[in-house]
């Protein structure tokens, strides 16, 4: 069909195209609409968290009362502190483990079992969260009964496990694009293996490590499902506290907490973006 068209094409000189091949009709409109819809609910949520009245949809004037109420609520303080401690512990342990794993999987020749290690590290990404959550419930409930020990350690270990792949990805990406000649140069100048790592490799992979740490931190801070199933009584984090609140009447207080979490997330993502997308 197409070939025939060419042969029988009536005019030898092609009509100049009046459009760019890069634009498709209607796509810009849909894209704009999509981005508006993507941000609309978030913006409305933030705006109404500053609402004076108790209504979540009728504006009654600017006020910080819901922020004050949330900040003064002991359950919220407690949950926020626990969330931060948990995210800090889990993301730092996960980042150290993931950095070691990234060095092990990028700086070696293919060895038997490397695919296994790779699959293992990415395993938490592939299984639906609810499945991991109930599996952890089964195992940790048994351990809790057996040892009688119910501290935060279960949450920290569970969070560390699912944070590892998120910390691993940016570190691995950084290692793969690194210029190895600098390390070679260091060794040519008689730097020891350890000195090379400390003075050359580590500074070079640092942006990847920081990006991985932040990603892991955000992921831990956001988790609802696994926390809900692993936590012992009285170990609410901010997300599980909010999920519990939703069962009762929704108050603008939840909006205020949501807005703070949003802000924290946006700041971390902006930093992450700067670290990983820097040009050159």
């Amino acid at each position: 069909m197409v070939e025939q068209n060419i042969r029988t094409a009536p005019t030898p000189r092609r009509q100049p195209r009046s459009y760019s091949v890069r634009s498709l009709p209607g796509f810009a409109v849909i894209a704009t609409f999509t981005l508006l819809v993507l941000y609309g609910p978030i913006i409305i949520l933030v705006v109404f968290s500053f609402n004076e009245g108790t209504s979540l949809a009728i504006w009654e004037g600017f006020s910080l009362r819901w922020y004050k109420q949330a900040a003064g609520n002991e359950a919220v303080q407690d949950a926020a502190l626990r969330s931060l401690v948990l995210a800090f512990c889990a993301s730092s342990v996960a980042t150290v483990a993931a950095t070691m794993a990234a060095l092990a999987t990028t700086r070696t020749r293919h060895f038997p079992g490397r695919t296994m290690i790779y699959a293992m590290i990415n395993q938490p990404l592939m299984v639906p969260e609810i499945v991991t959550a109930v599996a952890l419930l089964i195992v940790f409930a048994a351990i809790k009964v057996w040892t009688g020990h119910t501290s935060m350690i279960y949450l920290i270990v569970a969070h560390t496990a699912f944070c590892i792949p998120f910390a691993y990805l940016p570190i691995r990406a950084r290692l793969e694009t690194m210029d190895l000649s600098l390390e070679t140069a260091a060794q040519d100048l008689y730097a020891s293996r350890w000195l090379t790592f400390r003075r050359v490799t580590l500074p070079l992979m640092w942006p990847g490590i920081v990006a991985g740490l932040m990603l892991a931190f955000v992921i831990s801070l956001d988790d609802v499902v696994i926390t809900e199933f692993v936590k012992s009584a009285g170990q609410e984090t901010l997300p599980t506290f909010m999920l519990g609140q939703l069962r009762r009447v929704v108050t603008p207080e939840v909006n205020a907490i949501s807005s703070v979490i949003l802000l924290a997330g946006v700041i971390l993502v902006a930093l992450f973006f700067r670290l990983t997308h820097r040009r050159g």
């Binding site: 609309g40 090379t196 909010m242 949003l262 971390l268 993502v269």
Partner: protein
């Protein structure tokens, strides 16, 4: 990865390399052990649990039983003890599957043009647009679900605006419906569709599209015959990335669907909570995992074929 360009800078002897390789894999041990203990291992324990009898107050009795697996599909009739299809479960499977497919299709309809639009912006602006899509991707799923709830509640923004404009007389019930779940999941998973398609369009060689136009292909033909096949890997990746979490979604259906409109994830939770049937919950979890694995294996097969063709 290029296995030829190896690593151990400054060392040329093959033997030294081999020795070092053997030591270095040990570095992955902490990660592997943590995941083995707190992710992969518990899944194996769950396989065992799915073959046990339910305990009276949750947990299990340590005796072999196939009831858990049987109960996923059939149940005993309360009157004459005969086996009948577990209609409640089947309707939940169906809801999960159809809502996940609808979510995937909707995210594709809105995500593909968005990804295309971003990828065809000038490089300076592209970073900014990409950032705009990435922000919701990393912000709390529960917070985004609450934001949707604020929109579609009976007293929410959408109903309020429609009432003010006198388009409707009474608020439309949107919360606690399948619509709410589908809408919410489309909203929260949309970035997962945009990002891989963006990567594919970014790599697209626009000279091929120009060539198609030069050969008198219409815009539509060029899109269908040239662009779509070239960005197909991105579309498949995005679809898998949306479909898998949709199928296992727990938070969004729980908040927006309420107690009646359950999905797969909520059914599992129910068996570990109020249902007190852990073996059934374990069997359901394994079914869900199998469904997800099938989707993943399909994805790996399709993409490896694409790479072989390319």
């Amino acid at each position: 990865m290029n296995d030829a360009a190896i690593y151990l800078p400054g060392e040329l002897e093959a033997e030294a390399k081999a020795a070092d390789t053997h030591k270095r894999w040990l570095l992955s041990l902490p990660s592997v052990l943590i995941i083995l203990f707190a992710a992969a291992g518990p899944l194996l324990v769950m396989v065992v649990y799915s073959f046990l009898a339910p305990g009276d107050y949750g947990n299990v009795k340590w005796e072999f039983s196939l009831e858990g697996w049987m109960n996923t599909l059939v149940q005993r009739d309360i009157f004459d003890d005969s086996l009948i299809w577990a209609d409640a479960h089947l309707s939940i499977f169906w809801r999960s599957l159809s809502l996940s497919v609808i979510t995937t299709v909707l995210t594709l309809i809105f995500g593909l043009p968005t990804a295309w639009f971003i990828a065809t912006q000038p490089p300076g602006k592209r970073e900014f647009w990409l950032f705009l899509v990435t922000v919701p991707f990393w912000t709390n799923l529960l917070v985004r679900t609450i934001a949707i709830q604020e929109m579609i509640r009976n007293e929410g923004v959408i109903n309020l605006v429609l009432l003010k404009l006198r388009i409707i007389n009474a608020p439309i019930q949107m919360m606690f419906t399948d619509f709410a779940i589908g809408f919410g999941m489309t909203y929260v998973y949309l970035p997962l569709m945009v990002l891989p398609i963006y990567a594919a369009v970014d790599k697209l060689d626009f000279r091929l599209v120009e060539a198609a136009h030069d050969l008198y292909a219409s815009r539509w033909t060029a899109f269908r015959r040239v662009i779509l096949p070239l960005i197909k890997p991105g579309i498949i990746a995005g679809s898998i990335l949306v479909f898998i979490p949709s199928l296992g979604a727990y938070v969004t259906p729980r908040v927006l669907g309420g107690g009646k409109n359950l999905m797969f994830g909520n059914l599992i939770e129910l068996q570990f909570g109020a249902g007190r049937n852990w073996p059934l919950g374990a069997a359901l979890s394994l079914m869900l995992m199998t469904a997800v694995m099938i989707a993943l294996i399909y994805y790996v097969r399709v993409t490896s074929r694409e790479q072989a063709d390319g």
